[in-house]
């Protein structure tokens, strides 16, 4: 097992790490963007442990940087909050910004470089206009193709930037690309979203948060740091189940209604293997039924494991797994005709 996963699973084992294992932990933490997270985990779980100087420097330095990013996000959310307070529709924070605003325990040390929000599709033109009125702009170098790609086929607007803000803002109208094989009806997700007390913002229901992370992990073409996403899912499940006795049955019901049992199966099974997550038996049996045919299951689980738990001495496995997963992420997000067109466009064969 790799050191990062061992420490995430049982922080106490940090007491026994050898110097070369500490170095491996720093490497794995850096690759999966979890150094700041490790800082908080170790400070909280093994506060009396004397860290080697280099480890302390690296973890604490990254934690300080992430804390600074959190300050920037909070300040940006104050500005966006004025906008959110004026509109009739919910402005739903996603991922890092949501964890931060809802003060979820796993926000500490979680890095983020952009703010993701979700609004109902019918509200998109209005929200876009309001953002532009207060100075948010699209990248002036955005190509016509990219703009069209975002607006016609993607689930978000092109990224927005503001001259006062170093963060990017991504405005979504769905959790998944609208051209995906498994199109997602996001209306019930928006319906279930919850107002964050004392703020004009909404966040996803705890079950939808897990489903969204699962979707993201299994469909994203951004492959670096998958272990962080899986750990998010693991912690979000523990936290959800602790707060609400109906969390697991609700997760199952919502996952089924949204047609997301397959990604949920992959994630719960990986989180079980790597972090020891144990859903109740009844839930697990139902999720198991969404397992794909045996060869596909074996292939996916092998690829995900090679990618999530990279073996330094077998770099070809990591490369092969990541290239296949990258292709898969495109394959499931677009029908073949569109995919072909997209790849031709991106390869520069059709110089415009």
């Amino acid at each position: 097992m790799n050191t990062l996963i061992a420490v995430l699973r049982n922080p106490d084992c940090a007491r026994e790490l050898s110097p070369s294992q500490w170095e491996a932990l720093l490497g794995e933490g850096r690759r999966s963007r979890m150094l700041a997270r490790l800082h908080h985990l170790l400070a909280h779980e093994v506060p009396d442990l004397d860290l080697p100087v280099a480890v302390r420097d690296m973890l604490s330095g990254h934690a300080r940087y992430v804390a600074h990013m959190h300050v920037l996000v909070r300040s940006e959310l104050r500005g966006l909050g004025k906008l959110a307070a004026q509109v009739e529709y919910p402005v739903i924070l996603l991922k890092g910004a949501a964890y931060l605003m809802a003060e979820l325990p796993f926000a500490a040390g979680r890095g983020l470089s952009d703010i993701d929000v979700l609004v109902p599709r019918h509200a998109l033109p209005d929200f876009e206009q309001r953002l532009r009125d207060v100075g948010w702009e699209f990248d002036p170098n955005l190509t016509a193709y990219d703009n069209q790609y975002y607006r016609q086929w993607s689930h978000e607007l092109p990224p927005l930037r503001h001259s006062d803000c170093s963060l990017e803002l991504d405005v979504h109208h769905n959790l998944i690309q609208v051209t995906s094989r498994s199109a997602l009806d996001v209306a019930p997700v928006i319906e279930r979203s919850e107002r964050v007390a004392g703020t004009p913002f909404y966040v996803l229901a705890p079950t939808d948060r897990v489903l969204h992370s699962a979707l993201h992990l299994m469909m994203s073409d951004e492959l670096r740091g998958g272990i962080r996403d899986l750990y998010d899912i693991h912690v979000a499940c523990l936290h959800g189940a602790e707060r609400d006795a109906n969390f697991w049955p609700d997760l199952l019901a919502h996952g089924r209604a949204l047609g997301l049992l397959r990604p949920l199966y992959y994630c719960l099974s990986l989180a079980g293997d790597l972090f020891g997550l144990e859903p109740p038996d009844t839930v697990w049996h139902t999720v198991l039924a969404a397992r794909p045919a045996y060869p596909v299951d074996r292939l996916m689980s092998t690829l995900m494991r090679w990618h999530l738990v990279p073996q330094v001495d077998q770099p070809w496995r990591v490369t092969a797994a990541e290239q296949l997963l990258y292709l898969r992420s495109h394959w499931i997000r677009m029908p073949p005709g569109l995919l072909l067109r997209h790849l031709v466009q991106k390869s520069g064969l059709m110089a415009s």
Binding site: P19, E23, L26, R30, V53, A54, D57, M58, R64, P315
Partner: protein, 277 residues
């Protein structure tokens, strides 16, 4: 740091530059594991390139193979800048003599590296050429002695001024023009674990043909300039503010406009001598 490379010319230059360093013991944890290696594929033979890897990640585009050493120096600076947020990082050179450190904060092109190298040529200890690493706990600067890149006209100037220093090969047409590194003296490397207490802040500015001017700077002016000079002042929050306040309170600050390197060196040395009883 643990460093690996399959580029012989790079290894040779690196060893010349850092020969006096002790090898990191096996049982000590390092901050960075870095590999500088040839780019695979067709580029192995045709216009060969070199890549900088940290923990298997490749944060930058490859460089031409014969620029491996400047790439490494730049890459390591990047790694430190992204990680060392427990310290206040100033874009400044720091040199020390007799326990008295002089901080030379400046923007690129102000002659900071040249002045720093010249002082080192006069026997000052090199703490750093690029990164002033200020420890919040006690206000001391931590050494980071590294090869100092001299650019263009500074190169012959320094070779004349301090011919006894070690210099690396010439790298033509980098982003900053021609570059030759001044290697850190063995003594500076040997003492890389000894921090130094700052006593003077000197903002150097080279102006061709200018007469020497050494003007005292009020602490509030020095403070403002240091805020703008810091890489991570905002990230450091209140700690950064307090550390800079302490720095300008405990140091005398000067602006040094100069057109001649010997005069500039003499001016800095006179500051320190005047302080001694």
């Amino acid at each position: 740091m643990r460093l690996g490379s399959d580029v012989d010319s790079f290894s040779a230059t690196w060893q010349r530059s850092y020969a006096s360093l002790d090898v990191l013991p096996e049982d000590e944890v390092c901050h960075f594991r870095i590999v500088v290696e040839r780019q695979l594929g067709a580029r192995r033979w045709y216009r060969p390139q070199v890549v900088f890897r940290i923990e298997g990640l490749t944060p930058f585009d490859p460089y031409p193979l014969d620029h491996a050493f400047p790439m490494f120096e730049w890459g390591l600076n990047w790694c430190i800048a992204m990680s060392a947020h427990d310290y206040l990082m100033l874009h400044s050179a720091v040199v020390e003599r007799d326990g008295c450190a002089v901080v030379l904060p400046a923007q690129p092109g102000s002659g900071k590296s040249t002045l720093c190298a010249a002082l080192v040529g006069r026997g000052w200890r090199l703490l750093s050429d690029e990164f002033g690493i200020l420890r919040h706990a006690d206000g001391c600067f931590l050494p980071l002695p590294r090869a100092a890149p001299l650019k263009n006209a500074s190169i012959p100037l320094l070779r004349d001024f301090a011919p006894h220093l070690g210099f690396g090969p010439r790298y033509a047409k980098t982003r900053k023009g021609d570059v030759v590194h001044m290697f850190p003296p063995g003594d500076s490397l040997q003492r890389q674990a000894d921090p130094a207490r700052p006593r003077f802040i000197v903002f150097p500015r080279y102006e061709p043909g200018a007469a020497l001017q050494l003007q005292e700077q009020p602490p509030e002016v020095a403070m403002t300039r240091l805020v703008n000079n810091s890489f991570n002042y905002r990230v450091s929050g209140a700690l950064g503010f307090r550390s800079l306040c302490r720095l300008v309170r405990e140091c005398a600050s000067y602006q040094l406009i100069n057109g001649d390197l010997s005069e500039a060196v003499a001016a800095v040395e006179s500051l320190v001598q005047a302080r001694e009883p």
